[in-house]
């Protein structure tokens, strides 16, 4: 058993399993739900096996077709990849479990959902392991297209509009990225990240393509001021789709950005400051917008725009102790994935139960759906960076990085954003505890949906206890 786990090339299976699942679910729509669900669970299991493999025996390199770089394409799975793959596995499992009962009432949507979702998962897993810059582009494009299709699945007017905007943004981002790739290839004659890191020499022939690629990724991640597409797309999709978009898809482009940054290590302080500054504005702008929303799902969507800002605070903080700042940022990304996934799932349950998601009409939802409310609360606590959660660990590390360098303005952004987050989370919880005369319907919500959200929220909380182990995976990856 042990040798089986150590020797199997899970690297390739984490991409192949969801891809096969997607094909089968697409070819046999009648059995799409059962197939999709089974392959979803299998993908998660395979991802965990890969995590074990990487944790036990270090980074893995898989030369596709046995060619090897620079001629062939390599899959690299290091600690960062393993963390991201595990994040996708955890969120993916919860979303899969949730989606089955959630979509049971609309079989045609379910038949569309499963192939797309598994396809998205395959693209995501490939992206997290690729060491080739053109492959990054391909996987990003596949990811973006399946994500747009998933948003459009809702079928409503706002969802289609959101999907169209999302498509445009996604394409623009990819185009910018592609331009960067072409210029890089012209300058250095390779697409392999390891080789590029060795050959890149700075100056304009690196600066221009890098700028284009960074801009493309900012667009896709939805960092302020490129966030305008994000709330409508994330807020109008069906609940499991919103969870996937906010938890995983935006993290993919952030991951690409990190890889680029670690590869080329730009010495330009101005760019780091710019990214951090945009992040800071995003934290405040997104939070204020979240505070103003009347609908729960939009509040959660704006919260994503705000929390993404946090991830970028690492750029200006990484100078003196890179492991601390990058570690904090990556930990926040993973915690946010679990917490935000849980929040969207919980919001979906609430919307299903009472037929609307007006915040001031939550009408003692805590009595009717204690598990869902608990999921929302625990996720919110993690987002706000309150202990003992993954969000706390991430914010602690960023704060420590800021204060060790005496960079008070960044520290203020970190703690101020935390307070604003708590303000909008507890605004919802306050209404969840209060009687309201707002009209509402009453539908039964399957327990599976409630538990899936709660499990994901508990994952965000338990991240607060495993930080030293999880962060040790990053050794050797961070600059």
């Amino acid at each position: 058993m042990q040798t089986f786990i150590v020797d199997t090339p899970w690297t390739i299976w984490v991409v192949a399993v969801p891809l096969i699942g997607a094909l089968l679910a697409f070819l046999w729509p009648r059995r799409a739900v059962a197939t999709g669900f089974a392959f979803g669970l299998a993908t998660a299991a395979v991802s965990l096996a890969l995590l074990w493999q990487v944790a036990a025996s270090g980074p893995r390199i898989y030369a596709m077709g046995g060619w090897g770089a620079p001629i062939g394409v390599d899959l690299h799975t290091d600690g960062l990849s393993a963390i991201m793959l595990t994040m996708a596995a955890v969120v993916g499992t919860a979303v899969s479990v949730y989606a089955r009962p959630y979509l049971a009432a609309t079989p045609d949507k379910a038949r569309g959902f499963w192939p797309l979702w598994l396809f998205l998962w395959a693209a995501l897993n490939a992206l997290f392991q690729t060491n080739d810059i053109f492959n990054l582009y391909v996987t990003l494009e596949l990811l973006g297209l399946s994500a747009v299709a998933l948003v459009a699945l809702a079928g409503s007017g706002p969802a289609l509009l959101g999907a169209m905007r999302y498509l445009l943004v996604s394409l623009c981002g990819s185009m910018a990225f592609l331009v960067g790739i072409a210029l890089l290839y012209r300058a250095y004659g390779t697409l392999d990240l390891t080789l590029l890191a060795a050959r890149a020499d700075g100056g304009l022939q690196l600066g221009i393509p890098l700028g284009a690629m960074v801009a493309g990724m900012l667009l896709k991640t939805g960092l302020f001021p490129f966030h305008v597409w994000l709330p409508p797309a994330h807020g109008s999709a069906r609940a499991p789709v919103s969870a996937l978009l906010s938890a995983l898809v935006v993290k993919a482009s952030f991951y690409v950005l990190l890889r680029l940054w670690f590869t080329f290590q730009p010495a330009d302080e101005g760019l780091a400051l710019l990214l951090g500054g945009l992040g800071a504005v995003a934290v405040f702008w997104g939070s204020f917008q979240a505070l103003r929303q009347r609908r729960l799902k939009l509040l959660v969507a704006y919260s994503t725009a705000a929390q993404l800002g946090y991830l970028f605070l690492a750029f200006p903080l990484a100078a003196s102790d890179p492991a601390l700042a990058w570690g904090g940022s990556i930990y926040l990304a993973v915690s946010h994935a679990c917490a935000k996934g849980a929040m969207f799932l919980a919001a979906g349950s609430i919307m299903t139960e009472q037929g609307h998601d007006d915040i001031d009409g939550l009408d003692r939802v805590v009595d009717r759906m204690p598990l869902t409310t608990a999921a929302f609360a625990l996720a919110g606590i993690s987002l706000a960076g309150l202990p003992p959660t993954g969000g706390f660990v991430g914010k602690w590390m960023l704060l420590q990085a800021a204060l060790e360098q005496g960079l008070w303005h960044w520290a203020l952004v970190i703690v101020g954003g935390g307070l604003l987050t708590a303000a909008y989370v507890f605004r919802v919880l306050g209404y969840a505890f209060t009687e309201s005369s707002h009209a509402r319907e009453e539908h039964a919500v399957p327990r599976t949906m409630e538990w899936a959200a709660l499990a994901l929220a508990l994952a965000a909380v338990s991240l607060g206890f495993i930080a030293p182990w999880a962060l040790s995976l990053l050794e050797g990856v961070l600059p």
Binding site: L403, F426, T434
Partner: protein, 497 residues
């Protein structure tokens, strides 16, 4: 000396696990819920006795779990933490008994008792925290677990009170977080040590003064130091057992305990005095003492009057700490315990008046002593203790505070104590007088318990037990095993002689 890791965790688990199980119970499972509640409370006390015996024999109880890079989650049993753990565990048992009686037949009891248990878990964890990070974790956990108790009534008023409560406490939490990380960036450690860990590291005293202020403001919110106290009277909207717990054990005490930890085990009281930060703290505490008392004078609602009284009384602890002398330390720390027992009695009694006779205002209490003699007797004794009359425990606290002030040449402390005692008398004695000596004027009073018990036994026994304890500790203050005895031992470790 051997190290034992399981006992601190078991003490946490004795309320955490019953709490989590209670959440899952249906409303009608009264017997099982009561068993879990009381069983957990009793087991916690037994485990504590075990731990105290162990500490007495030189066993070190400590758990270390890595939490963030370079820092551990530490639970550690020292003399100071045992003082607070004991207070929490004993008063939790009393409050649980009271709450079971008080909430009989009301809705959402599983939720209530679930959070109730989590809240005590957080308090006990906070007491045993071995470093500032662990303290912070439980400090925030306490905020989060008390919120559902504050908004328990599910009304619009409760929601607003909850919002104010969170606004204050989360702001305090953020200040504490900032101070903690800042201190860690400066010193590279957060471990509590007798006589502090920041001195002698060559850190700029001006920076340390600011760190001190940030940390103290952070915990000062929960300790209800003026002007950070406004949440406390509003939180009165919660059910009586919650108010009792908030005021006597959990929230305000957590703040006061935080001040104790920061002054003694982070900065070291002598170094803090050297930095010149204790005098401003003492002045702030003195102001809070007088301000709270003055505000209490004008409250007609009994619970609000008690709330302002808490604002005032808790600052005695801060004052004792900030005077920075060994004798004042004894006064302040012993008040941590004494105030807890006396104040919880007062809240139990206020709850009984509300529950049995429907009385909430001081002006309605005329003649209640004839109908509810036991409750009123407990109330009277506890009020005497608050004023500082011998032989109640409150006298012992004030005696040591006054002596401690004289010892370090801060004679103004005596004036503050005298002024506060007069004010305490001015807002407590009229209640006592009207309760015993005035003719009942309110219809509702006559309806109370002729021929039967004035209140159910579960509501009557807790205040009688707590006030008896406060009386015994006043009468036999110098006997071994009293809070005073224990606190004298603690004080001897926090000073360098």
């Amino acid at each position: 000396m051997t190290v034992n890791a399981w006992l601190p965790l078991a003490i946490l688990a004795s309320s955490l696990i019953p709490g989590l199980i209670i959440f899952t119970l249906p409303e009608r499972a009264v017997a099982l819920r009561t068993t879990l509640n009381l069983g957990g409370a009793v087991v916690k006390i037994l485990l504590l006795v075990l731990m105290m015996v162990g500490v007495f024999h030189g066993v070190v109880f400590e758990v270390r779990i890595p939490l963030v890079p370079g820092l551990d989650f530490v639970l550690h049993a020292d003399a100071l933490s045992l003082l607070f753990v004991n207070l929490s565990a004993v008063l939790w048992l009393a409050t649980t008994v009271y709450a079971i009686g008080y909430l009989e037949g009301s809705p959402h009891r599983s939720r209530f008792f679930g959070y109730f248990s989590l809240c005590v878990t957080a308090t006990v964890g906070l007491a045993m925290a071995g470093n500032l990070l662990t303290f912070l974790v439980f400090y925030e956990a306490l905020t989060l677990t008390t919120y559902p108790l504050v908004v328990h009534r599910e009304t619009e008023v409760a929601r607003r009170a909850g919002r104010i409560y969170l606004a204050y406490t989360l702001l305090g939490g953020v200040l504490l977080l900032t101070g903690t990380v800042w201190l860690y960036a400066l010193t590279g450690t957060l471990e509590f040590v007798d006589r502090g860990f920041v001195s002698g590291l060559g850190i700029d005293p001006a920076v340390l003064r600011v760190v001190f202020a940030v940390l103290i403001l952070g915990v000062g919110v929960k300790a209800a130091l003026v002007p950070l106290h406004a949440w406390l009277p509003r939180a009165m909207v919660a059910p009586a057992p919650v108010s009792a717990l908030l005021h006597a054990v959990a929230v305000v005490k957590a703040g006061a305990f935080g001040i104790v930890r920061i002054v003694y085990d982070v900065f070291g009281v002598e170094y803090a005095a050297e930095l010149g930060v204790t005098l401003p703290l003492a002045v702030l505490a003195a102001f809070t003492i007088l301000y709270g008392s003055v505000r209490a004078l004008f409250q007609d609602n009994l619970k609000r009057r008690l709330a302002f009284s808490t604002v005032s009384q808790v600052s005695y602890i801060t004052l004792g700490v900030a005077i920075a002398g060994p004798i004042a330390t004894i006064g302040g720390l012993v008040h941590l315990v004494h105030q807890g027992f006396m104040k919880i009695t007062l809240f139990f009694c206020a709850g009984n008046y509300a529950e049995s006779a429907g009385l909430h205002q001081v002006s309605e209490l005329a003649g209640i002593g004839r109908r509810m003699p036991w409750t009123t007797a407990a109330f009277t004794l506890a009020a005497f203790g608050m004023i500082g009359m011998p032989p109640m425990a409150g006298f012992v606290s004030k005696w040591y505070l006054g002596l401690g002030g004289l010892e370090v040449g801060q004679d103004w402390v005596l004036l503050v104590l005298a002024g506060s005692s007069i004010l305490n008398a001015a807002y407590f004695l009229p209640i006592v007088r009207t309760a015993w000596f005035d003719e009942p004027s309110d219809e509702r009073i006559r309806s109370v318990g002729p021929g039967g018990l004035e209140s159910p036994l579960m509501l009557l026994l807790p205040p009688l037990a707590t006030v008896a304890a406060a009386l015994v500790w006043g009468l036999f203050a110098t006997m071994p095993g009293t809070p005073l005895d224990w606190v004298q031992f603690i004080a001897s470790r926090k000073y360098g002689e």
